[in-house]
């Protein structure tokens, strides 16, 4: 039985099992998700396995399977976590081909933020997003994030604008969207 870290309604984040790996890699490398990632690199199976071995040894746990009604439907996790500055860099993605409820994206983000702020005790998340990923930028703002800086990054032979978005514990707590879902 996989360890469930947090659940709200039909959604949960649980530990990643070896049996999840091939599906997660397929989603991570899919054109829909790869195009939103900051790196150009297509992850190989060996790299994915090495990542899995590394995250299994992490304490605290930072990477999770996102599940809906106990079925794997995505990933959520912190790629960076600094226990000294109490800062995390988190992200999530959903299975591109599944017909998920319209609120799935909210819960993948909310469960990760809840874990980060209330369990890890982080004070803020800092995340880079391509500026042309407009819907994610808007969604992050709705969740309380603010753009604090921007920079250029080359991807796929093109120079693109990246914004750094920060979400503090205080802004997350008072985000209006949370009143609907918690």
């Amino acid at each position: 039985m996989s360890k469930v870290y947090i659940s709200i309604g039909d959604y949960a984040i649980r530990e990643i099992e070896e049996s999840d790996l091939s599906q997660l890699l397929e989603w991570r490398n899919s054109p829909e998700i790869h195009s939103k990632m900051l790196t150009d690199h297509i992850i190989t199976w060996d790299e994915h396995l090495a990542w899995f071995k590394k995250i299994k040894e992490q304490d605290p746990t930072l990477n999770f399977a996102f599940v809906y009604q106990d079925k794997l439907v995505g990933y959520a996790g912190y790629t960076k976590y600094d226990p000294v500055t109490k800062t995390g860099d988190g992200g999530s993605y959903l299975a591109p081909e599944l017909d998920l409820p319209v609120d799935a994206g909210i819960y993948s983000g909310e469960l990760l933020l809840y874990y980060g702020f209330e369990t890890l005790g982080i004070k803020k998340t800092v995340t880079d997003v391509f500026l042309d990923n407009e819907r994610v930028v808007k969604m992050n703002k709705l969740m309380g994030s603010k753009i604090i800086s921007s920079h250029k990054l080359k991807k796929g032979g093109k120079v693109k604008e990246v914004v750094t978005m920060e979400l503090t514990y205080e802004d997350w707590r008072k985000s209006f969207y949370r009143e609907f879902f918690l």
Binding site: D99, V102, D103, I106, R135, M139, L142, Y177, E179, F180
Partner: protein, 72 residues
Amino acid sequence: MNEHDFIEQLVNLMDTEEDISMDSSLENIEEWDSLSYVSFLAMCTKHLGRRVEPQKVREAKTVRDLYEIVNE
């Protein structure tokens, strides 16, 4: 709010270029996502002055279903 005004607001809210009618299926509208969902809930709170149940919006299948939630 009449049907015409509602569709206009919904199109602006979703920022979609699709041709939307009252009978449009939400699952066929690419922009009907988490962002549109939360924005719709916020719009209801702002314009109606009351909170609508997220579960009802989540279960809506068509634009008409959303319209009926607003006009309850």
